[in-house]
Amino acid sequence: MIERSFTKRLTSGLVPAVPYLWLGLFFLVPFLIVLKISLSDPAIAQPPYKPVFAWSDITGFLSALDLENFELLTQDDLYFRATLSSVRIAAISTILLLFVGFPIAYGMARAPERHRSLLVALVILPFWTSFLIRIYAWIAILKPEGLLTQALMGIGLISDPIEILNTEWAVYIGIVYAYLPFMVLPLYATLEKMDDTLLEAALDLGSTPWRSFWTITVPLAMPGIIAGSLLCFIPAVGEFVIPDLLGGSETLMIGRQLWSEFFSNRDWPLASAVAILLLIILVVPIVIYRDVEARRMEMRP
């Protein structure tokens, strides 16, 4: 009996620790390493920064750390512009994703019950192919002599090839395509739970279907809208592959800047500083979301 309650206590103590352990090991520790590198100076060495951490000279190590890289970020407006452009592209993409994703999720939630699990499987299906390959495929579609141009010229809608590849439009198309499941699934989850009689009640009380959609469906789908938007917006801000492959050299995004600092300039400390900056930008919306959620919970226990 005693033993049993001991193991019970042990497991009940350990189970909540699992996520903390995971986050500590794979998020907090790497974060601290990146933070430390961001405070270091670049060096032509292996690794390419100094000082290198050493217990023997802890005071010398700490005194060598400084905020120079962050100062540089504020001085060169390239980083500011890249950040702004990333946030803008991510925001526009998220709105586009909502417009594309909502009807899909709504249609799925309204589909006969026996079709729903198949539809969910189909939404997830693209994940079976490598993300990289799918983005490369878009090059073939969007390039001037690609499938899209051919199709549009074929039906006589346009007479000259259109420039889409290597513009911001290609980035939007790529992001919307690649992130759609992250928008559709949380939306579907909330819409599917929604009680249809609520819409009937709204109609019965004199609200047109269009108004009922805005006054009933959308507010009740809000948790899914917020979750889907965050799931798309956050990774989209730091997106590197899509702007690099589809956006051409003109498209400025912070993730790309980070990549070039790391691999082209081999300036690990500056790249780390960019990474930290990116993290701060992304933490803000999450905190706001949590705040909103907490207030909602308070309002409706």
């Binding site: 009640a201 109609l203 009380l205 009933i216």
Partner: protein, 389 residues
């Protein structure tokens, strides 16, 4: 005691001055004309014709799947008839969507908007009409007073009890002052005590507002208590439309007799008619049974069922005299003491079990009837109804 003469007798104890259905000149508010509704192959409502009058408290009663909910949903505009026509105040409802009908519904699940406070829920319909803000808040206040929820105006549905939610749903449906209020199993989710209280409250509210109420229910007690008239439905058809008293005392078919209240059914064959009374030979009784049901048109030898309510039978230990009619002999099979009533289950020689209930009018009973005793069950000719098979 001789049975009262047929002319002065009224079926059921309740008398009502309100009876527009008896007036041939009265125009019905709602009219179903030969309405059929099919879902694929299944027929939910089958060539149904029905009139409902203004100010009526009308109940659609029937077992689940009888089509009563479909009938109500057609009135609300969520379903449209496959054939036939529905008119409201003389105007056809064909093609009129739910949001353009002067009809509101209280849903079985209440369907309160979870993201809106009580106030906002009640105001929802009024806001769709674009009423000025001051009028909306007046009307909401009035509704909150009507259902006694003034103190809970700012609460959310999740913070209310079942009974409170039911009131919000009622207030929301009443707020627009519809011509007709539809109530789908309005008391289904409440516990027994609350249900009884709310029945009377609903009747009071209906009376106060003078509105037409159409209630769907499968609970016959609920229908009996509240309704001016009841339509009993079965398999998409209306079997009988009548006052609660008529439904109970003068059921048209065996289905109604058995669905509404408890009933004992004795099978037999008509022997003939004598001074207005029918004689029926039944294997359950030694002597032919005598039944006072002059409205029935029967012929000799016809197979009939005789329906007698348990409270209209008397159980006794002493053998009745030779002048007594309708005597059945059996033994006590079971006794259930319910406080206000005692229910005897009496087994006849044919193996049939009769249910006889007896009001406990005194606290003291000298030598009560006991299990396995040989007893006699009698009933008056006016207590029974003949149902043609």
């Amino acid at each position: 005691m001789p049975p009262p003469s047929r002319q002065s007798a009224s079926v059921g104890a309740v008398r009502r001055a309100f009876a527009p259905w008896a007036d041939p000149d009265a125009k019905p508010l709602i009219r179903f004309e030969n309405v059929t509704k099919r879902f694929g192959e299944a027929v939910a409502v089958d060539h149904l014709t029905l009139d409902i009058f203004e100010g009526e408290f009308f109940c659609l009663l029937g077992p689940s799947g009888c089509g009563k909910t479909t009938l109500m949903r057609m009135l609300a505009g969520f379903e449209f008839p496959t054939e036939g026509m529905i008119t409201l105040a003389g105007q056809s409802l064909e093609g009129v969507p739910p949001y353009r009908r002067p009809v509101n519904m209280m849903f079985q699940s209440y369907a309160l908007f979870p993201h809106m406070s009580v106030e906002k829920n009640i105001a929802f319909g009024l806001r769709q009409d674009g009423l000025p803000k001051s009028e909306i808040s007046d009307r909401v206040g009035e509704m909150l007073r009507l259902v006694q929820l003034e103190k809970l105006a700012k609460r959310y549905p999740s913070q209310l009890s079942g009974g409170q939610r039911q009131r919000v749903a009622l207030a929301r449906a009443l707020a627009k002052r519809p011509k007709v209020l539809l109530l789908d199993e309005p008391l289904g989710a409440l516990d027994k005590k609350l249900r009884e209280e709310t029945q009377f409250e609903l009747m009071d509210i209906q009376h106060e507002l003078g509105m037409t109420f159409v209630v769907v229910t499968h609970d016959q007690e609920e229908a009996m208590t509240m309704a001016d008239r009841i339509a009993v439905m079965d398999h998409g058809r209306i079997v009988q439309v009548a006052t609660p008293g008529e439904i109970y005392e003068q059921p048209k078919t065996r289905f109604i007799a058995e669905f509404v209240g408890d009933v004992n059914i004795l099978e037999g064959h008509v022997q003939g008619q004598e001074s207005g009374l029918w004689h029926v030979k039944s294997p359950s009784a030694e002597m032919p049974l005598t039944i006072d049901d002059p409205d029935e048109v029967l012929h000799s030898g016809q197979a009939v069922a005789i329906a007698v309510r348990p409270e209209k039978m008397v159980v006794q230990r002493e053998k009745p005299g030779p002048e007594a009619v309708n005597v059945l002999t059996g033994e006590v099979w079971d006794i259930g003491y319910l406080g206000d009533w005692t229910v005897y289950r009496i087994r006849l020689a044919t193996g049939e079990i009769l249910r006889v209930s007896c009001a406990n009018i005194s606290r003291f009973v000298e030598s009560p009837i006991d299990w396995d005793e040989q007893v006699y069950v009698t009933f008056a000719p006016g207590a029974a109804v003949i149902l043609a098979e």
